[in-house]
């Protein structure tokens, strides 16, 4: 069941009107700020060491990762304005990114010669992903036609 949301209703406020969407919106902003940091090159050497699977092994610049993160977070933020049924695409995108990014941090100390503090980054993104999963399980009441919230 995909509930269609009129554009006027979905974007009547700067923030999403549903509780599920608001959680997704906030987490997309938080993760998107990290993407902005990567895009501006404001990352320390320790972060590059922690993400050495991307930077040293696959030779992916962190600026490109920042662009990818911003794209995912922008998609999740757009989906957060849609009501229940459509916002799950945003949850899917952001949860998948958080889990894979957590693995990127986790792989460095476990399989490569990365520093142990990379596990902190892995844990933080893992927790964000788990929070997204728990939020995705929250039911949002279906809005009836003509009933204002």
């Amino acid at each position: 069941m995909i509930q269609a949301t009129p554009m006027r209703k979905a974007f009547r406020r700067p923030w999403p009107s549903t509780r599920r969407g608001f959680k997704l919106w906030l987490l997309a902003i938080i993760v998107g700020m990290k993407g902005v940091g990567y895009l501006r090159g404001a990352t320390s050497t320790s972060t590059e060491l922690a993400l050495q699977l991307l930077t040293e092994r696959l030779h992916v610049p962190l600026q490109a990762c920042g662009v990818l993160i911003l794209a995912i977070c922008g998609f999740a933020m757009f989906c957060s304005y849609c009501h229940h049924g459509r916002d799950r695409y945003g949850y899917m995108a952001l949860t998948g990114f958080c889990f894979s990014w957590s693995s990127c941090f986790m792989v460095a100390p476990l399989f490569l010669d990365g520093p142990g503090y990379a596990l902190q980054g892995a844990l933080s993104y893992l927790l964000i992903g788990l929070f997204l999963l728990f939020s995705a399980a929250d039911p949002e009441p279906v809005q009836r036609a003509g009933v204002a919230r």
């Binding site: 069941m1 049924g85 889990f99 039911p139």
Partner: protein, 105 residues
């Protein structure tokens, strides 16, 4: 293991975890959506049930009115039969037995 193999393992782990997260979020969201949909269906069922109850209540009211009307008719018939029997007794005539359907209190 050499570096390339470790890198491949890392990439596989990253891709698998991302896919797992995406699938888990999809399944969990779908379940939540279905739960809401089931609740809405039950609400619709309840409204149908409520309409049926209202309809049945109306029918019961009509049946009760009919019964009351029939009971009053029987009372009238009983009163008529008692009066007729009394008149017949006063005139020392034979009183016929009342029909069983009129034998009401």
């Amino acid at each position: 293991m050499n570096g390339a193999l470790l890198t491949l393992v890392g990439v596989i782990i990253v891709a698998a975890s991302g896919l797992a997260g995406t699938v888990a979020a999809s399944v969990i969201s779908k379940r939540a959506t279905d739960r809401v949909q089931n609740t809405e269906d039950k609400k619709v069922d309840l409204s149908v049930l409520q309409a049926s109850i209202v309809d049945l209540t109306g029918r019961l009211g009509r049946v009760e009115n009919d019964l009351e009307h029939e009971r009053s008719q029987r009372k009238l018939s009983n009163a008529y039969a008692r009066t007729l029997a009394q008149v017949l007794r006063e005139h020392q005539m034979e009183v016929p037995a009342p029909p069983p359907e009129l034998d009401l209190p």
